[in-house]
Amino acid sequence: MTRVVGCDVGGTFTDLILLDEAAGEVRIAKVPTTVENQAFGVMAAIGQVNGRLDRLDALVHGTTTTTNALLEKKISRCGLITTRGFRDVIELGRRTRPNAYGLLGGFEPLVPRELRLEVDERMDAAGEVVRPLDEAGMRAAAEVLAAAGCESLVIHFLHAYANPAHERRAAEIAAEVWPNRHVTIGSEIISEYREYERGVAAAVNAAIQPVLDRYISRLTDELSAHGYGRDLLVMQGNGGTVSSRIVAEHAINTVMSGPASGVMAAAFTGARSGFPDVITYDMGGTSSDVGLIRDGIPATSAELQLEYGMPIHVPMVDVHSIGAGGGSLAVIDDAGLLRVGPQSAGAMPGPICYGRGGTQPTITDANLALGRLNPAALLSVDNPISLGHVRDRIATVVGEPLGLDADGAAAAILQIGNNRMAGAIRMVSLARGHDPRDFALFAFGGAGPLHAVALAAELAIPTVLIPARPGITNAIGCVVADVRHDYVNSVNKPLDQLDMADVRAVLEAQIAEGRATIEREGVAVEELVLVHRAEMQFQGQSHMLHVPLPGVDVGKAALRRAFEEVYFNRFSLELKEIQPVLVSLQTAVIGRRGAVSLASLADAGARAGSVAAARTGERRVWFAAGWRETPVYDRAKLPLGAEFAGPAVIEQLDTTIVIEPEATARVDDVGNLVVAVPPAYRG
């Protein structure tokens, strides 16, 4: 593969990277996202890099179309047909409330009750028919929903994971009367027990399928009009790609694909630079995303939720969002204590320094007041605000109640903000069974690199890795991602009752389905990689652990040993007396695309001959020990292999990096910045 484009649409910007390996060239574009039709922004970005579409080998696209449609409830009208007695499953949920304390709030189900119909049919948990499908009733129900103007249809029957025969027959009947192809079969989206989560996933798929279908058609039309004749690949939440030809079938897989791209880029970059174990930290304006990578493989989960009442239980890269970002507000609470976040100034009014009318100090304002961000950057905002004004507001709002001056107040905001973020990162890591000290911190996003070194110190993380191009990490994730399809099937049997031939049959069926899908999408892949794992627990437990499986042939004793080992590593407990249960089997079918090299990201041409020559000036910057005159470097000019000690500020187009005085930085051979945080400085 020689010429490939990755294009990621984010909330504010559409980022694009064109990698031309033969020419050793990389081109980058950043254009405003066009919210109504993201295709315009994509075409504009392609235009900006002067990308000749007819000469491209592949175009990989990350889109927020489906995520936004769900969050903003701009979804298609869909109907649902389900087992008699169970139409309220997606409205009743699992008996939860939005918050542990406080009894307010709620959610609207994706399919309103009047569009949820029931038919006579019933399977039991063993997949045996208790009541046959009422075919005439099924047809009538589909006709009613079509006549009610539904654009898509969900068929969701109880225990269909155990036996999908009724769902499939119902879909055949529906196809005869449904005006389009938008019929979602619940068990084809998730083939696991848990009727609420499976039903919501099916409803999510149906609600966004027509939206995604329309968007992809518009984009492919635009692309072919400009001469593009190769594959359009679309990013999925599992960190892999899928051909645009079939992406809408499982539209749900594109939800939350943006954060997944970032983690894929981190995994690729980290492994390349000798850091296979990485915690990713993408700090944005209102929230930050945290992901975990072990041995170069991103952690995945099938238990994420987009918001309250919307679990998305398909396998995805496990990215946890924490409620802290540059726009997090600093407030003095009723107890007279300073709190930073989770309330955010958002994009409007945003931090005071954006000049959009914000009056309440944020983390970004504190960074500015402390010289960590370049005050000259204020000139580029909407309505220039003076640094003095920002400092005055910080002194008034935060300083006065606490008896601090502007410096002290800004430092307090920064310290408490960092403390909170570090605590949240730690919990994300612990909840997944890992000690953060065993990882490197990979920071990206607009504000991640600004805080990363201080956060690493707080978390006792020894190394910070800041990629060459932190602002386009997601687009890079698109370029490096492979084609990937995940399959999960419930088993739910104690080991002593398990027939290992069944295990093999399930895994082989998953492989066959994956191969068939990759063949159908017609994307050129160099090799097929199969990753199997089992979800297991001890009998009577609720939590499950993932146990890697070497292949389709698994011995019972080996499986038991493997599980006990994983369990012991996690909890330091041995429970010989209790029977393990195989809950589900999972297979990832990965089609490797040609490997790309990120060497060209380093852009050696622009680099200076020495660290000193990369220095653009100096300014006063606040650190825990006080103000320091601090050299400022232009990142693009720092020579490869350069090493220097903090304090330092490194600026580049889309981010600023602060190297704390105790740390030392090194530019590696592909332009990543590797920061060593000495033990004495770690918290």
Binding site: G85, F86, R87, D88, E91, L92, R94, R95, T96, R97, P98, N99, A100, Y101, G102, L103, L104, G105, G106, P112, R113, E114, A125, V130, L158, H159, Y161, Y193, R194, E195, E197, D333, D334, A335, G336, L337, L338, R339, L402, L404, A412, Q415, I416, N419, G423, M427, L430, G433, F538, G540, Q541, S542, H543, F571, S572, L573, L575, E577, I578, G683
Partner: protein
């Protein structure tokens, strides 16, 4: 302040202590066996003062009802502790010593730093069984605590880090499913070890003296914060009454008489007019009674952090001589799950009169505890199926109540029907929204749940401890009550309704028999005749109410197409308006 504590250090240490507790919660939950702990999160971990057990910090993921009980529990351990040494660990589940019911087993451990006790670490976990008349401990008709299970006074389960095998043997010989409970015990002990490790790191970093000073300061600040919130409530007296259906033994309602006086920054709670102690298991121990009030206040002001200071402005007179101050040997298994929710309901119902903009009508307020114990011929093994269901929440100024919300004292999720049918020989014929159950109001209550279980195979006995069968959750400010809890068992063409409506025990059921339950809806908020007619039409379109109910409950008439008939509605509502 005892000495100068800079505001940054104070906030950082507060976060640090909170983090220690959250990490204990996480460790406990992740390795627990009991689904009640691992899935229902029926556990809590915290840090307590070395002298009196006063709450310093408690995990944010703990079960809400434990916000107030654990400091009492820890205090009773401290009072009785002798010959303490590092590595000692107490176990206790005596309800009368700062507990709730027997199933909530507490562990408490002195935390040593530099050779001195710095504080105590404690946790509570709901064990699946502690012996007694019925599996799981919720006997609907126990009359003495001995029938409810094994009662442990504070005893050292570990002495200097060594497990006392003899005490363990006593416990194991007196409970059901002992083999799985050992996993839970290990998880509960391990959680406290996580706390020790993290707390040691915090003290190493900031120094014991500084952390000590910050703890004192945090307590003062939390009290200040709670007082600031209370100050927003107008001075005055606010009264309410809430009813528990029956105690499960004597078929008569139990009255909770709540009188709240707000004066300045303080709240005074008087429950002395409540019913006397009862014969059945609906008595509440004082720790549980107090905790229910704390919990209610936390639901009203969720942003106030929890430590002993938070409770300083809440003055609760001991309701001696009532069923809310149970003494040995009164049975108490219903106090944490049911009576606590009714006490909270009484707090809401009283204070909504004072601050209607932030409060809400009554939530369903029952844990809907249903147990089916029998023999499964398929596996030739005995089984016990527990089912806890939610109900509707009350309407509030800004919106309708949630449907199928969790009990107010819990945060757990319900097991899927598909899992229940895998594990037990039952078939659910319905699991549906309980139409019409949302209490009418300008903002209506949320809906309860209707479920129908058919026994497929083998004989079993059904038991239930529910509530609100006699009286629906209260509507407020002119809103109507939510629908009541209903239970019916259909056998051989006959229908059996429990005499106490919501509580019964050991009802024999066999193949083909059907158990039908409806859980309560939430109370309505404000005059239903002021509800936007378009919303009423929407609700009828969704089948939440019938057109007849819309006319009778909301004064809204619909045309043949289901749209609002404005003229007819005006006529219906005109009558209401004229009456005002």
């Amino acid at each position: 302040m005892s000495r100068d504590i800079d505001p940054v250090t104070l906030a950082v240490i507060q976060n640090g202590l909170q983090q220690v507790c959250n990490e204990m919660d996480l460790a406990f939950q992740r390795s627990a066996f009991s689904p009640v702990i691992a899935e229902a999160m029926d556990r809590s971990d915290g840090i307590y003062h070395r002298d009196d057990g006063a709450l310093i910090a408690q995990g944010e993921m703990g079960l809400p009802i434990f916000v107030g009980t654990m400091q009492y529990s820890t205090r009773t351990v401290i009072e009785r502790a002798t010959n303490l040494a590092p590595g000692d660990l107490y176990i206790v589940n005596d309800p009368y010593l700062g507990g709730t019911h027997l199933m909530d087993v507490r562990m408490a451990k002195p935390f040593y730093y530099s050779g001195e006790i710095f504080c105590w670490l404690s946790n509570t976990g709901h064990w699946r069984d502690t012996g007694g008349a019925v599996p799981g401990g919720f006997s609907a008709n126990a009359t003495e605590v001995e029938q409810e299970g094994l009662r442990l006074p504070p005893v050292k389960l570990y002495k200097a880090d060594v497990l006392d095998e003899e005490i363990l043997a006593i416990i194991m010989s007196n409970i059901r499913i002992a083999d799985q409970t050992i996993g839970d015990i290990k998880a509960q002990v391990a959680a406290l070890s996580v706390g020790e490790k993290r707390l040691t790191a915090l003290l190493d970093r900031y120094g014991a003296r500084m952390v000590e000073d910050c703890i004192g300061e945090m307590r003062t600040r939390a009290a200040q914060q709670m007082r600031a919130k209370i100050a927003t409530i107008p001075d005055g007296r606010y009264e309410s009454v809430a009813w528990v259906d029956s105690d499960g033994v004597v078929d008569a309602p139990l009255k909770i008489d709540m009188k709240i006086r707000k004066e300045g920054t303080e709240l005074y709670f008087d429950l002395s007019g409540s019913s006397p102690p009862c014969k059945g298991p609906m008595n509440s121990v004082i720790a549980s009674t107090r905790s229910s009030i704390y919990l209610a206040m936390k639901h009203i002001f969720p942003e106030v952090p929890i430590n002993a200071g938070t409770y300083e402005p809440l003055h609760i007179a001991d309701p001696e001589g009532t069923f809310l101050y149970a003494r040995y040997p009164r049975p108490v298994s219903g106090c944490a799950a049911e009576v606590s929710q009714r006490i909270a309901e009484a707090v809401f119902a009283a204070l909504v009169q004072a601050v209607p903009d932030i409060l809400f009508a009554a939530p369903a307020g029952t844990s809907g505890n249903f147990a089916l114990g029998g023999h499964d011929p398929g596996t030739d093994k005995p089984y016990v199926m527990y089912l806890f269901t939610g109900g509707g929440y009350g309407g509030a100024r800004d919106g309708d109540g949630l449907s199928n919300g969790c009990s107010t004292i819990g945060i757990s999720t319900m097991q899927p029907v598909e899992v229940l049918e895998q594990r037990y020989p039952v078939l659910f014929e319905r699991f549906a929204l309980s139409e019409g159950s949302g209490g009418p109001g300008r903002q209506r209550g949320g809906f309860g749940v209707d479920y129908t279980i058919r026994i497929r195979d083998g004989w079993a006995r059904a038991s239930m401890v529910m509530d609100h069968g006699r009286f629906g959750p209260q509507g407020v400010l002119g809103g109507a009550d939510g629908g009541v809890n209903r239970v019916a068992i259909h056998r051989d063409g006959a229908t059996y309704v429990p005499p106490h409506l919501s509580k019964d025990q050991d009802i024999l059921v066999g193949p083909g028999d059907v158990i039908e339950v409806s859980t309560p809806g939430g109370g309505g908020y404000g005059d239903p005749w002021q509800r936007d007619p378009a919303l009423v039409a929407r609700d009828v379109g969704r089948g939440y109410y019938t057109a007849e109910q819309a006319a009778a409950m909301y004064g809204v008439a619909l045309d043949g197409g289901g749209a609002v008939d404005a003229a007819a509605t005006a006529r219906l509502r005109g009558r209401g308006a004229a009456a005002e």
